[in-house]
Amino acid sequence: MEPDVTGSQQNGEGDSEAKAGTEDMMNASMSTKSNRITRLPLTRIKNIMKTDPDVTLASQESVLLIAKATEMFLQHFAKMSYGHTARSKRKTIKRQDIDLSVEALDAYAFLEGMLE
């Protein structure tokens, strides 16, 4: 029986140990609640980036920036969706609200493939 491994791979992978050690420290200090540069774990973001075979190397600051941008995207996207929710006099954000948000902005066109 294989152990139950969820999708969380938070620690350093094949990088040299010394580098992963300092990186992890920086990552931890960058995304802990007390420092709050970003809420999203940088290691996870980096792993997501790595699933693209074309993406090779990214500096640590780049990963941080992408994390921050993702945070901003989430906040904007959620707010826009809620706009539709409120207009329909509901309290729960539903799929239809999200669909409408995707269609409303040109910049969100990349998400069209995600809606059924």
Partner: protein, 182 residues
């Protein structure tokens, strides 16, 4: 951690982090479960979008590593220019923190005395300590020898007295003030 059993494409932003951010943004609003899932996937898709575009920018600039400038340019070109200002200030903050850490570690290494000098001083102290220890041990040894010599002398004198008298006399008590007769 074992990597087997986890397809790479299952990676997404941690659900808890997401929920927390939505909660802080829209405190009294509920989100249906499939909406959460969808929002999560959209975030993941966003990451792919930006990193792919930044990667293109990186290749165009003939560099090997994606830099913050590439990310900023990618955001701009994809219609997310509104994010640039906040992203730039995050970058500044990050650089300040890194610079502070570098200064702090430098201060520790440069107390004004180079490492070789510190090592030399340490070696001197060790050598001196060894010398002092040797002197102490030498003295203790000398004292021991002197004590033994004194003991032997007493025994010798007692034997001579016995021979001189012809009969056994009780051994004289140890008397440090004795004049040696012979």
């Amino acid at each position: 951690m074992a990597e087997s059993g986890t397809p790479e494409d299952d990676l997404s932003v941690p659900r808890a982090a997401l929920n927390k951010m939505i909660k802080e943004l829209l405190p009294s609003v509920r989100v249906s479960n499939d909406s959460r899932e969808l929002i999560n996937n959209c975030c993941t898709e966003f990451i792919h979008l930006i990193s792919s575009e930044a990667n293109d920018m990186c290749n165009k600039s003939l560099k090997k590593t994606i830099s913050p400038e590439h990310v900023l340019a990618a955001l701009d070109s994809l219609g997310f220019g509104a994010y640039l200002e906040d992203c730039r200030s995050v970058l500044e903050e990050c650089k300040t923190v890194a610079a502070k850490k570098r200064r702090a570690s430098n201060r520790l290494e440069n107390l004004g005395i180079p490492v070789e000098e510190l090592l030399r001083q340490q070696e001197e102290l060790f050598a001196r300590a060894r010398e002092e220890q040797a002197v102490i041990e030498q003295e203790e040894w000398s004292q021991l020898q002197a004590a033994q010599a004194a003991q032997q002398q007493q025994l010798l004198q007692q034997q001579q007295q016995q021979q001189g008298n012809g009969h056994v006399q009780p051994p004289a008590p140890a008397n440090h003030a004795q004049d040696s007769a012979t």
